[in-house]
């Protein structure tokens, strides 16, 4: 089975595992708390909101902590090519999800798909903006990570 090469060295891998461990502990305890809230209050909307909040907080924590350590990803280097590929992939996934949602709604309403064809244009427009947003965000974050890597290199390295 094809497995991409891990580009982190053992020190970075260790730091990454610590970050992931903390995020995992937070997610497990957060989800346990969410289950309790859901059972006690019976409010599924509140429970779902807490779950989404935990997920986003964990994502932000992992991204910011690894960036602080000058780590971008295990398999991808922070450059324009990978940023473009990741942006295109995420846009593709969002586009497919939105199309699936639209088709599901149309079929539930029992309307013919052809007459609702123009509803695809807002999705196309949103996908285009989503791509620009994701590409800009990843580009900014990757350039910040590269800057941090250089700063850490200067901070810890002494050639003499």
């Amino acid at each position: 089975m094809f497995r991409p090469k891990n580009i982190l060295d053992e020190r970075q891998e260790k730091e990454m595992l610590i970050i992931e461990h903390r995020a995992c502990v937070f997610m497990y305890s957060g989800l346990a708390f969410d289950c309790v809230i859901g059972i006690v209050t019976g409010n599924l909307h509140l429970s779902f909101s807490i779950m989404i909040g935990i997920f986003f907080f964990s994502c932000i924590y992992i991204a910011s902590s690894s960036m602080r350590k000058g780590i971008w990803d295990r398999y991808l280097r922070p450059n324009h090519k990978t940023n473009l590929v990741i942006s295109l992939l995420s846009t593709g996934i969002v586009f497919l999800l939105l199309i699936a949602g639209l088709l599901f709604r149309i079929m539930n309403e029992g309307e013919p798909i052809i007459s609702n064809f123009r509803k695809i244009f807002p999705i196309l427009l949103f996908s285009a903006f989503f791509f620009i947003f994701v590409f800009a965000l990843i580009s900014i974050l990757s350039s910040l990570t590269i800057k941090k890597q250089r700063k850490l290199d200067e901070e810890y390295c002494n050639d003499k």
């Binding site: 060295d9 020190r11 970075q12 000058g70 890597q149 290199d153 810890y156 390295c157 002494n158």
Partner: protein, 66 residues
């Protein structure tokens, strides 16, 4: 602080970046090993020894009696 590693590197007229590239780690990792802030695995120690042409004893053994 790992003075043996630093001395061996300087003896070879090598920068931290060059040693890091040959040992397949980041420059920061070499800096942290030299300053004693990171304990490398045996696998990495052997790689560094091979690059610098030294034995594990010469680079990583700390003689407490000296």
């Amino acid at each position: 602080m790992n003075k043996n590693l630093k001395n061996a590197r300087i003896e070879k007229n090598m920068s931290q970046a060059e040693l890091a590239a040959l040992a397949d780690v980041t420059r920061q990792t070499i800096g942290l090993i030299e300053s004693g802030n990171f304990n490398p695995s045996l696998h990495l120690c052997i790689r560094i020894c091979n690059v610098l042409g030294k034995t594990l004893d010469q680079l990583f053994w700390e003689d407490k009696n000296v």
